[in-house]
Symmetry: C2
Subunit: 111 residues, 2 copies
């Protein structure tokens, strides 16, 4: 009976995992890069850029929204999808920290 045991880990670790999980699908990476190239915002149907159906892309967008990396503003009929600069900065920090922790070894002789 698998229940989410994620909360047994440190908050910081959890948050990092949430961000990395959000990046764990090519469609979501593509959306993020596309938004970045569009100067962080795009109005219209993002699914037209991806090799996936609209409802599927919407689901990926939802996950990106849940992680906070993307925001959706409604303006008239169209929706503006934007990167959330604060969260993007946070993500960068997470990555930098991870790289910092992970590089501590090097020139060890154990394998």
């Amino acid at each position: 009976m698998p229940s989410a045991k994620v909360e047994l880990f440190e908050t910081e670790l959890q948050q990092s995992a949430v961000y990395f999980k959000a990046l764990g699908h090519p469609a979501r990476l593509m959306i993020l890069e596309f938004l970045a190239e569009s100067d962080s915002c795009f109005t219209g149907d993002i699914s037209s850029i991806l090799p996936l159906g609209r409802s599927t892309v919407n689901q990926h967008l939802d996950e990106l929204k849940k992680s906070g990396l993307v925001q959706g503003h409604i303006s008239g009929i169209k929706t503006n999808y934007c990167l959330n600069p604060d969260k993007i900065d946070e993500l960068k920090l997470v990555m930098e920290k991870f790289v910092g922790v992970i590089k501590t070894y090097k020139d060890s002789n154990c394998c």
Copy 2:
């Protein structure tokens, strides 16, 4: 009938997603950080460090192995778990590239 559509994306995007997905669970982040702190290798039962059962941790280890970030050498009864420096370097590059792409916007005025 959802079939893996991941292959519809560019190879590089796919590979990046594989790495990020591997980092998308606190247990796996913890394992990686633990191995880094252990000078990249550890002999013994990693599950004793995590708040999860051994078989679950083994499954996470398998995923890390599949992504290539971790290697397992058998030496006698015990197994050596080691970071794979080449893949770790690759992961760092992926992160740097992602940060590079994503930061291109900034001081845009669209939201």
